[in-house]
Amino acid sequence: MTPIPDTERKRDLLNVWLALHAPDRTVHLLPEGVSFSYEKAMEQIYEHVMCREVSEEVIYILIAATADGEVPVYVGRSRDVCSRWSTHLVGIGSGDGVYATWQSMLLTDSMKTRWSLSLMVVPGSQIEFPPIPGFPTTIGAVEYQLVSLMADAYPSMTLNHEGRLR
């Protein structure tokens, strides 16, 4: 493993950004240790306000509640987060293609959740400050800052392959 000396600082930056953007923007998908259920996770998403926000691009972050704290494991953006997450959840259930990594990291061999999983959804217009001080707050720039921070803060936990050192 290549040493990344600023890991703790990057974790702090992530934690601050996530904590201050989380209120009223986070939905609990599945608790820890339960059988994976596409239907239950989608029920949670449909009940959330995000599906009414399709006119605006949102940034979404999948968060795993691990023993070491809440860890962001995937970040993306979409104008239709419900449709996007339907695709992601089907993929997690099937483990096909790129989702093999998602399934093996998020679920046990018996298809139970390793951790409680939550989804944070932040509309572009509600981004209050950049994750990295002095950086832009456009939605694409914020997405890439989060990918960048996650790559070094949690190198073994990120599902964004484009930000991962091989």
Binding site: F135, P136, L165
Partner: protein, 208 residues
């Protein structure tokens, strides 16, 4: 906001070289025809090739080398206008040393992602420019590159000289954030800044 150019000008080990080999005193890019497959290829500048080989060979001799970070852009003296930001990592998908960097001195097909083959920058840009036969059609991404770089495509004449910033990335190096970062993390930092500070010119699609 953090100034991307200030970081580019001070990052240790960075080299700025011309990307294309051009006819003397002109912006016409030299090309070469490959008779066996009917391809016409844009020529890299000899200094770019020498520099890339030197940086990669020196890098892979060290255990802390993560790969090559690069920015294609216009070097306008007081500032570099980024056109495309990317990287060639040391470690490959299947091998400890990526095929993109292995045997770099003779590896003109891949050449740290700037090779002549399809799915590599020079090969794909040549394909989009000259539309020779390939196992697939030209990529839209490189048609946009050609439109951005050339005032005319055959013969290919640049709108202005194109430079390549090459940065050998080692453990412990610091990105624009001021934090030590891995090569993929720093690439994302740079794209995030370039997307706002040079959004009209940047050809990277993601991160905007």
């Amino acid at each position: 906001m953090i100034d991307l150019n200030a970081w580019i000008r001070t990052v240790p080990g960075a080299a700025i070289v011309p990307l294309f080999d051009t006819e003397p005193g002109s912006l016409t890019v030299r090309t070469r025809d490959i008779e066996k497959n009917g391809k016409t290829l844009l020529c890299r500048h000899p200094l770019m090739e020498e520099t890339m080989i030197s940086l990669v060979e020196a890098g892979i001799a060290r255990p802390d080398f993560q790969g090559i970070f690069y920015i294609m852009g216009y070097d306008r003296g007081d500032q570099l206008v980024p056109l495309y930001v990317g990287k060639a990592e040391r470690k490959g998908v299947k091998h400890d040393l990526s095929e993109n960097l292995r045997n770099i001195r003779r590896n003109r097909h891949k050449f740290a992602r700037w090779g002549d083959g399809l799915d590599y920058h020079i090969g794909d840009l040549s394909h989009a420019t000259f539309r020779f036969e390939g196992y697939r059609g030209p990529r839209r991404k490189y048609e946009l590159w050609a439109q951005a770089l050339f005032m005319q495509e055959d013969p290919p004449v640049l709108k202005e000289p194109v430079s390549l910033v090459l940065v050998p990335w080692y453990d412990g190096m610091v990105g624009p954030s001021g934090l030590k970062g891995s090569l993929p993390a720093v690439e994302k930092e740079v794209i995030a800044l370039a997307s706002v500070q040079h959004g009209a010119d940047l050809l990277n699609v993601d991160g905007r």
